[in-house]
Amino acid sequence: MKKYIYMDNAATTPVKKEVLEEMLPYFSEKYGNPSSVYSLGSASKRAIEDAREKVAKVLGANPKEIFFTGGGSESDNWAIKGVAFANKHKGNHIITSKIEHHAVLHTCEYLEKHGFEVTYLDVDEYGVVDLEQLKNSITDKTILISIMFANNEIGTIEPIKEIGEIAKGRNIYFHTDAVQAVGNIRIDVNELNIDLLSMSAHKFYGPKGIGALYIRQGVKIDPLIAGGAQERNRRAGTENVPAIVGMGKAIELAYANLEEKNERIRRLRDMLIEKIQANIPYVRLNGHPTKRLPGNVNMCFQYIEGESLLLSLDMEGIAASSGSACTSGSLDPSHVLLAIGLPHEIAHGSLRLTLGEFNTEEEIDYVVEKLVKIVERLRSMSPLYEKVKEEK
């Protein structure tokens, strides 16, 4: 069988066997509705509460502060819309950044149509938000700051502790989209002064379609989904019990030996970056060199276009992603790459390889070997590269 190498772990991860095993009984044996009074129902209820405790423990939170949702995007929507509408009597100003996930950006754009004002903070060349600009943007109308924990494209980890202190000092709610961080970074919501935190299970070897929102006790927030008393009256709808159970198991496993795992993945990441830089000319690393997610590699290959890179890699059995316009389905390349100051033509040639627990050193060598040939072939076809060679 042809080799298949998966290096798109920031997009999603496979469900671990141990996770799947825990989930299975909740499909057809322990299928009771958690809201029902009979014992089949209360077994489901217990399973949910058990998972809630596991999630809370990892974040240093109280289980009562964890609310299960349909995933990261729902958590982001809920946190921002919910806080905005519940606190509009206090003010109508929200601060976020230019490099947020679209689940945050499009939610903010929606709120702008409904009377809210949003400041989109700039980032530096590495994708780090400007803390001075943050402080200067705060007004007496500011009700929420929403800054991602770590960027999904370039892997940059934001100064969350500093942002938390600024928000706390001004008595403003602080939400962080931690979808890429949970499972990869140790997080203590109290130490970091986080009021709301979004997460998604399928980023850490749990199932898709399940996530959670941490809501600090006392935070004023409207529900997003009405229609039932589930999740302490805050998120209606019959709970996705098997997925919640899976999320609980997955988060427990993710944090069991986190440092050891991260050390290995970080080593592979740096090896991949160094080998690409050593073997391919005209490349640049996007994102912060050290303050970055353990598995994130994001590079631009000048004079070629990202989608053609992805197609070529796929033909060699390698799964990756890109921020080129052709893969985003729009005219422009990734808003993140533009926000860090890359010109369009370079942003079009971006490649994201995200490593996970199952990647190996052999895979790194294989990918670099194939990448060298692919980049060479695409550049040989590129009229832009021709000009570079002429100039030399």
């Binding site: 276009e305 053609s308 316009a325 052709c326 005219l331 369009h344 076809m381 590129s382 590269y385």
Partner: protein, 146 residues
């Protein structure tokens, strides 16, 4: 996402390269938008004897250029002028709707090369006067956000 024919023309593109003594060279597209096509023509007695291309762009852009060169090689200027972007896309067994602009770019690249030929050799090519090569094909094709 792509037909087998697109993948074949992307992985094994026909007529890639340059013609050093080309009779006509045309370049269309813009690196900002993520695609540039450069087409080289060798023309003798009104017939396209040889054609080569270089493309910076996605899989559909490379495949469209490759297919377009195949469709005009050995043909008369008159026949090449009749090649439409739809014919290129059909010959590739179709393109996803958001990639149709790549076939437009291929049609424009041929016309740009023919325009260059007509200027250099002082040959009148009927139909070229109506061609707008500055038209950005993106604006027609990206109306719906996926």
């Amino acid at each position: 996402m792509y037909s087998q024919k697109v993948m074949d023309h992307f992985m094994n593109p026909r007529n890639v390269g340059e013609i050093p003594d080309a009779d006509g060279v045309g370049e269309v597209g813009n690196p900002k938008c993520g695609d540039i096509m450069k087409m080289y023509l060798k023309i003798k007695d009104g017939v396209i004897e040889d054609v080569k291309f270089k493309t910076f762009g996605c899989g559909a852009a490379v495949a469209s250029s490759s297919m377009a060169t195949e469709l005009i090689k050995g043909k008369t200027i008159e026949e090449a002028m009749k090649l439409t972007n739809k014919a290129v896309a059909e010959a590739l067994d179709g393109l996803p709707s958001i990639k149709m602009h790549c076939s437009v770019l291929a049609e424009q690249a041929i016309k740009a090369a023919l325009l260059d030929y007509s200027k250099k050799h002082n040959v009148h090519i009927p139909g070229l006067e109506n061609v707008n090569l500055d038209e950005d094909p993106h604006h027609h094709e990206h109306e719906s956000d996926e």
